[in-house]
Amino acid sequence: MTNSLPSLHKPCSGYTDDDLVSMIKAGGGHSRKAFNCLYELYFDMVRMSVKYHRLEKNHILDAYTQALLSFHTSILAGKWERRGTLRAFFAIIFRFKCIDTIRSNPTISLDAALEEYLRKEAEDGATNPEEIMIGDEEHSMENDRAEIRKRCLEEASGELQPREMEILTDYFVNNYKAKDLAEKYGYKNAGVAKTTAYNLKNKLNRSIRELCEKKPECRIICP
């Protein structure tokens, strides 16, 4: 799967849309590079949005970050079907995140000029925004449940050291190979790194179970 991945040493402007998507799907260092590039390549949307200063800088940056996270999952889920540019696909998500930010802040409103700018950016998307954002609408319906789960899981994760959480995240979420994990964290070999990752997994699972026993409201995260 990784035999046709573009080089990590190219400048960001040298990657095509297909390159970036394949890098995201590959995970690990390639995904990190792709997101670093995407963050910078699309940042002009943030600058333009900040220009229409009805939305505060922090709100825009939060919306942008959330958009990138949703964008990542959407790519992995195969939501981008190459009917438009990757940039326009992202613009659709960013626009919805801006609207979400406004919904949660009744004192602010979406400037007409910003709305028009974001709409134009998304014009080339050739994708039905409803298909991308259906998940976000459902999420808003289960907001309370999601908030409780989030709080409880963060509490359970708090029992592990930050480095331990980093190791788990790199191995299980960022798709690091055991060999790369060993190199990054200084383990003797891939075998040791893999064993460490699974030991830490057991530790986190134990922490989750103990929290469920300790706090009834957190039983929502337990089987």
């Binding site: 960001c12 402007s13 040298g14 095509t16 849309d17 997101f35 590039c37 963050y39 910078e40 390549l41 940042f43 002009d44 943030v46 600058r47 900040v50 800088k57 940056l61 939060d62 942008y64 970050t65 959330q66 990138l68 996270l69 949703s70 999952t73 959407s74 992995l76 889920a77 939501k79 540019t85 940039r87 259906i134 998940g135 976000d136 459902e138 999420h139 789960r149 989030k150 899981l153 963060e154 359970a156 994760s157 959480m165 980093e166 788990l168 995240t169 191995y171 299980f172 979420v173 960022n174 798709n175 893999k194 990752a197 997994k201 986190l204 699972n205 989750i208 995260i221 337990c222 089987p223």
Partner: protein
């Protein structure tokens, strides 16, 4: 490690499943404690990852907004450059097309080629003691037939004040200039042909020269005259050409 279950779990956690798939997955989770445990485990990692990334990106974004990092120029996204390049390309293309049309393309070229006949001298060359002018004229004709147009034209020019060969020389010169695609100069030569015998030829060649010069209105005027003139040898040709250039 097995990634497959985590990909599905991430879709579920991010609410990117269809309602039907989501319901089916929830049923699965409810019936399988191990799967439920995996969902909780992976969700905890995603939360941690999202939080780290959000903090990292926010710091980066603040720095970029503060102007420490210049905006990255994407290879494919500078709309103004693309628009400018497209406009410049269009102008260049239109200019090139205009130049080609005005300088090279002649919609009447095929008509001129079809009706252009070589110059034929109908005078008398059988002088027993040829003088200089006779020899020059014969030489001009010979060179013309050999397609040595430039040398033929030089000799013909020298004979434009000749008592015997002036009009023929002008006619020959005009025909050579049409062959060489210099219609404006050809028209000047042909205009000076006075002899009534050669005037019809000169008129017909003039019409062809105007077509070569992309001036169909002037060609039409001459051809209309010729077409009405019952005594002209070119009456049929003139009518045919008029039909073609309508």
């Amino acid at each position: 490690m097995e990634h497959a279950p985590y990909e599905t779990i991430e879709l579920y956690i991010r609410n990117l499943m269809t309602p039907a798939d989501r319901k089916a997955f929830e049923t699965q989770v409810a019936a399988d404690p191990d799967l439920a445990g995996e969902v909780a485990f992976y969700e905890a990692l995603l939360l941690h990852r999202d939080k780290s990334l959000a903090a990292e990106w926010k710091a980066k974004g603040e720095k970029m907004l503060a102007g420490d990092t210049p905006p990255l120029k994407a290879a494919t996204v500078n709309r103004f450059r693309i628009q400018w390049a497209a406009a410049a390309s269009l102008i260049l293309m239109l200019t090139a097309t205009g130049i080609w049309y005005t300088q090279f393309y002649n919609p009447y070229g095929s008509v001129v080629t079809q009706y252009m006949e070589p110059y034929r001298y109908s005078g008398d060359l059988g002088v027993q003691i040829p003088g200089t002018e006779d020899r020059d004229w014969q030489r001009a004709l010979a060179l013309y037939r050999e397609r040595s147009y430039e040398q033929a034209a030089i000799l013909a020019n020298g004979l434009e004040n000749s008592r015997q060969y002036a009009d023929d020389a002008r006619l020959l010169g005009g025909v050579i200039l049409i062959e060489q695609k210099h219609p404006e100069k050809a028209l000047q030569k042909l205009r000076d042909v006075r002899s009534p015998v050669l005037r019809q030829k000169a008129q017909f060649y003039s019409a062809l020269a105007f077509l070569q010069d992309k001036k169909p209105e002037k060609a039409r005027a001459i051809l209309t005259e010729i077409a009405k003139d019952g005594s002209s040898h070119y009456q049929d040709e003139a009518r045919e050409i008029l039909q073609k250039i309508e």
